[in-house]
């Protein structure tokens, strides 16, 4: 179908399949059917009959120790490696129906060492696939500018060479280049592996934000279980020898590892890792007595008897948390200005891991959850976090937290 083409020289593109690369292509559904990879002369198969189903628009993370064949699985999708058996279906169509080069132009490809062309400028690098597909110059220029902005690169980088960029910037270019024709499917082989931890974290977050709008189907390879849990909608844990050990969502994987290998691979701290999956808003908040400096202590003690949280919280006139009070602070007639201990402050959108860490760093093991203006909207207890982690059904409605009538235990 003809897509709106603002460029006067769109005729060339209209004649080629390139015009199919419209800005809003649907993500692809990907399926591995009994895929086997066996190298001639090798005693054991590299990949042992792998079947996986990746819904459109999701990130599949292939994770496992080195030698488990995760990269081989990824590279078979765009036929950089040809399987010895089985089929890989993209939107139901075997990936062997088209010539390999043509297939690859439709699949975004990002690798750890970026693979940027050192002899081409950033703009030329990003324009690689559009140029192969014969897009008109003006359309390429527009798309390149758009992509650089999308991945957060200053337009002034367009004319530079890769050697003039930092590692993080180069990896952004790599992502922009892979996104150039808005491919329905993307392959990413440890894309953030060679980057310092701080930049990696930022790139991961930015990429997830990007993915929220782009909704591409992505095969993401990593050896880092934390990255897998963070990036994946679904995780395929591979065992050395090319066996699929478990295919599950991050939460399932952490809650119920399929076997000892997976359990070991996800780590002894797998319960804690689940904290990375939740946010403060997922938990039920508790309430405490809110007091102001100068309030009579007798009244505070009285209120405290029915409070869920055993500490009163001092707030200011705007409801912002100032300090936790304990028994010692309530000895006098009134609450004295300046007494109490520091309050951990978290927001509803904070990741549970970060919030919990903040709570642990304070003397009082409760955090004040604040809104955008800094006013307290509830209290997060370390107990609530622990309940969230405990296996079992519906941790969302803990019985003992119910303050309402009729909640006997």
């Amino acid at each position: 179908m003809s897509t709106p083409d603002q460029t006067p020289s769109g005729a060339a593109a209209a004649a080629s399949p390139a015009s199919a690369a419209s800005p809003d292509r649907a993500p692809a559904q990907l399926e591995f059917v009994d895929v086997v990879k066996r190298y001639p002369g090798a005693s054991a198969a590299t990949i042992e009959s792998l079947s996986l189903d990746v819904p459109a628009g999701e990130i599949l993370v292939l994770v496992g120790p080195s030698g488990c064949g995760k990269t081989t699985v990824m590279r078979m999708v765009n036929r950089m490696i040809e399987p010895s058996g089985g089929q890989i279906l993209i939107d139901g169509e075997p990936n062997t129906t088209r010539p390999a080069a043509e297939l690859r132009r439709d699949i975004g490809y990002v690798i750890q060492q970026t693979g940027l062309f050192p002899h081409r400028t950033i703009a030329e690098n990003v324009a690689t696939v559009p140029k192969l597909l014969g897009w008109p110059k003006a359309r390429i220029a527009d798309r390149t500018a758009e992509l650089l902005e999308l991945v957060g690169l200053d337009p002034e980088f367009a004319g530079r060479y890769p050697a003039q960029l930092s590692g993080g910037q180069r990896q952004r270019v790599g992502v922009a280049r892979a996104l150039a024709v808005d491919p329905p499917l993307m392959l990413m082989d440890e894309p953030f592996g060679a980057i310092d931890p701080i930049t990696r974290e930022r790139l991961q977050n930015e990429f997830l934000r990007l993915q929220e709008t782009l909704k591409r189907t992505i095969v993401f390879v990593t050896h880092d279980i934390d990255e897998a849990i963070k990036m994946g909608d679904r995780i395929a844990v591979m065992r050395p020898g090319g066996h699929l050990a478990q295919y599950a969502t991050p939460a399932e994987l952490l809650l119920s590892p399929a076997d000892e290998f997976v359990e070991q691979f996800v780590g002894a701290d797998r319960a804690l890792k689940r904290l990375a999956l939740g946010r403060v808003r997922d938990l039920r908040l508790e309430e405490t007595v809110r007091v102001r400096y100068g309030d009579p202590t007798a009244w505070v003690r009285e209120q405290l008897r029915t409070s869920q949280v055993p500490y009163p919280l001092v707030v200011d006139a705007d409801g912002r948390p100032l300090a936790w009070l304990d028994d010692d602070d309530l000895r006098g007639e009134r609450v004295v200005e300046g007494v109490g201990s520091a309050v951990a402050t978290v927001e509803r959108d904070d990741i549970l891991r970060d919030a919990f860490s903040d709570v642990l760093a304070h003397r009082v093991q409760f955090a004040a959850v604040v809104d955008g203006h800094g006013a307290v909207i509830g209290i997060l207890s370390s107990d609530a976090v622990a309940r969230e982690l405990a296996p079992g059904p519906a941790p969302v409605e803990p019985v003992e937290a119910g303050a309402g009538p009729g909640t006997g235990s």
């Binding site: 765009n78 080069a101 690798i111 750890q112 050192p118 002899h119 081409r120 192969l132 960029l165 392959l187």
Partner: protein, 245 residues
């Protein structure tokens, strides 16, 4: 030394028009003393132009043919790695044959003249250029080639758009060595009856003015060719000069 050279004119008959042809009005005593005579040089400079032109032709033709052969061989060997060893061995043997010996070996087959000289000159460029092209192509980072293939460039596109451009500095380096070597070897071409600056040099080896001018022109030609290749390379590889920002 003089004995060896003495037998050569029988075969080579070098130095037509140059033999002891020093007649000159200015600085006659300097000339008869075999000295360095600026006035004589100025007066007789034009007689070196024809040998120089011939020398340039010998060199450039040898480089062009040598480059075509070795570049083609290198591209073949790049995909068929087993070819590298035999090609290196063969061109290595050619490289080690003394040039004079090669001229004399070829004389019965190809006779005196341009062709004989070129066969010898070309054979000396092969090893250098072949090895540098192969090294250059091998030096292309594997991740770059992988990404190129992964994005859907076919083999030919990978070769011409990625591998060869990135191998250019190494290829140019080989061409520069080959160029300077060939300029030097071409001064022996007159033994094969192919002319060049060797003609005037060997025609009057005792006359310092003569040797200085002809030898100097050889050196200048070598430098000029070297700089020319370098300039072209820099023009073609702007990315190698990009300063990290």
């Amino acid at each position: 030394m003089s004995g060896a050279l003495g037998s050569i004119p029988l075969l080579a008959q070098g130095g037509e028009g140059f033999v002891r042809n020093r007649e000159s009005g200015s600085g006659a005593s300097c000339v008869s003393d075999d000295g360095v005579c600026p006035a004589w040089i100025v007066d007789h400079f034009d007689r070196y132009m024809e040998p120089l032109g011939r020398h340039v032709l010998l060199t450039v033709v040898a480089l062009a043919i040598g480059f075509s052969i070795s570049f083609t061989l290198a591209l073949l060997a790049h995909r068929r790695r087993w070819l590298i060893a035999p090609v290196v061995q063969l061109t290595g043997i050619l490289y080690t044959i003394p040039s004079l010996a090669l001229f004399f070996l070829l004389l019965p087959i190809t006779g005196r003249g341009f062709l004989t000289a070129e066969i010898a000159l070309v054979s000396y460029t092969l090893l250098i250029i072949f090895r540098n092209v192969v090294t250059g192509l091998d030096g292309v980072p594997s991740d770059v080639v992988d990404a190129a293939r992964g994005m859907g460039l076919n083999d030919r596109q990978v070769l011409w758009r990625v591998e060869i451009p990135l191998a250019l500095p190494e290829i140019a380096a080989g061409l520069r060595i080959a160029a300077t070597t060939t300029v030097g070897l071409a001064s022996l071409a007159f033994f094969a009856g192919a002319g060049g600056l060797g003609d005037p040099i060997y025609a009057d080896l005792n006359f310092k003015s003569n040797v200085l001018v002809a030898g100097g022109l050889c050196v200048l030609l070598a430098i000029a060719l070297d700089l020319l290749v370098l300039a072209v390379q820099r023009l073609l590889t702007p990315w190698t000069r990009a300063v990290p920002a």
